[in-house]
């Protein structure tokens, strides 16, 4: 057995054992047909493709094949929310005054967040004009900057957005990477259009205010409000799609529960957890609790779906075994 074939067969462990046994030879054969003659390792694209195919097949076996389309729907809503937040915070970085209250500044801007939000808005523009793979690269870059701004700001003693602003942005961005590859240009314009509206709101309510806007006044309340809008939108999509017999919306709602919870980090840490000034430990602890809760809810929904699917299969087999004439 060639090295390449052996490596593809190892990757195929992502698939359920039964499926692998029945279809593994055929799938590996197709990968080998497509590979260049001198290739010894599967390409990154093939690794992702095998893993995605395996996860899809496992979900299908568990009766939750519509989870992937649900994640794609959640990704679209996440990307719209992430760019809207970038529009809001980016404008706030520009229109707020850093002189009052002796707030630290980053050149003419309030904090180093201007670079992060600029990159998110750039990702929104790339999403409109370039193929999906370039939009994913732009989102990846924005994600990197959103995470990197924390150590960089600490290293150079520069002001940065608070963690309760950055953590939901990273989570929304990670989910946004799963957006569908083929969408109409009109739909791809939505994130930038919503970001522009959010920018107008920021310009209206935060102009001339102190650059402490991230914590106080309207700025501090914006994230939970955005979370409430996202929750209502996801619930509406779930209801409308469910009426058509499509479970995508329900899965999208379940997947979005984690980022929606994280958008409420500010009131959660300062009002519910009781930390007057939420430090790194409180923020990470609350974030971990939200991830755990969101993950457990999704896992429970998958388990319920798998059990009901298995029961339905058993019933179907029992009905099939009955005498077609007398039903016994």
């Amino acid at each position: 057995m060639r090295d390449l074939e052996r490596r593809y067969r190892q990757l195929l462990r992502a698939y359920p054992a039964g499926y692998r046994q029945a279809r593994g030879g055929e799938i590996v054969g197709t990968y080998l047909d497509l590979a260049e003659p001198d290739r010894r390792w599967p390409s990154i694209i093939d690794v992702v493709d095998v893993l995605a195919g395996g996860v899809g097949e496992r979900l299908r076996a568990a009766g939750a094949a519509d989870l992937i389309p649900g994640i794609r729907l959640a990704a679209v809503l996440s990307f719209i929310t992430a760019t809207a937040l970038a529009g809001f915070w980016g404008t706030a970085e520009v229109v707020t005054s850093s002189a009052s209250w002796g707030a630290p500044a980053f050149g003419p801007f309030a904090t180093t967040g201007i670079v992060v939000w600029g990159c998110w808005l750039l990702a929104g523009a790339v999403h409109v004009i370039a193929p999906a793979r370039w939009a994913r690269v732009a989102i990846g870059l924005a994600l990197f900057l959103t995470a990197a701004v924390v150590p960089i700001a600490a290293l150079f003693e520069l002001p940065r957005p608070y963690l309760f602003v950055l953590v939901p942005q990273v989570t929304l961005g990670l989910l946004a990477l799963a957006f569908p590859a083929h969408t109409a240009r009109r739909q791809r314009l939505t994130p930038l259009a919503v970001a522009s509206a959010a920018a107008l709101i920021a310009a209206g309510v935060l102009s001339g205010k102190s650059s402490w806007f991230y914590r106080f006044n309207y700025g501090g309340a914006f994230l939970p409000e955005a979370g409430a809008v996202l929750l209502l939108t996801a619930m509406l999509a779930a209801i409308v799609l469910s009426l058509r017999g499509d479970a995508r919306g329900l899965w999208a709602l379940l997947v979005l529960l984690t980022p929606i919870g994280l958008l409420g980090l500010y009131p959660l840490t300062e009002n519910i957890v009781g930390a007057g000034h939420a430090d790194f430990r409180v923020i990470t602890g609350t974030t971990a609790a939200i991830f755990l809760l969101g993950g457990t809810t999704l896992a429970a929904a998958l388990a319920i779906r798998a059990r009901s699917s298995a029961t339905a299969d058993t019933l179907a087999v029992r009905l099939h075994e009955r005498c077609p004439n007398c039903g016994k």
Partner: protein, 122 residues
């Protein structure tokens, strides 16, 4: 029951199979050729789509063979798949007809703009 409109990969796979039966590698190459390179399927995506299409009754397994030690399963369009592809093609044809008619009506009004702009520049 298959929802209309068909997703792009489903449409192209059905189109590729509207002929002699094909194996996975053949379908990938045929889809790339038919879509003029706009759709490049990978095996993980392809076999997921093929499974869903078999479940929906759009395609059927035709036969299996081993070539150069590689297992190949051939797929063919079912009667339902053929009817679904015909229905989708008709729907797209009507869309193209309506859009072409609208663009045709728009063209005479748009025409005078170009000479005026050019004249202004000159």
């Amino acid at each position: 029951m298959v929802d209309a409109p068909l997703r792009e990969p489903t449409f192209w796979i059905l189109t590729a199979l509207a002929g002699p039966p094909m194996h996975g590698y053949g379908i990938i190459r045929e889809v790339a050729a038919l879509s003029e390179g706009r759709l490049s399927l990978r095996p993980g995506t392809l076999y997921g789509a093929l499974d869903r299409m078999v479940d929906a009754g759009l395609i059927e397994a035709d036969r299996e063979e081993v070539v150069d030690g590689r297992q190949r399963r051939y797929y063919r369009l079912s009667t339902t798949g053929s009817a679904t592809l015909a229905g989708e093609t008709e729907r797209l044809r009507r869309n193209v007809k309506a859009a072409t008619a609208r663009l045709g009506a728009l063209a005479p009004a748009a025409r005078p703009i170009a000479p005026r702009a050019l004249g202004g520049l000159a």
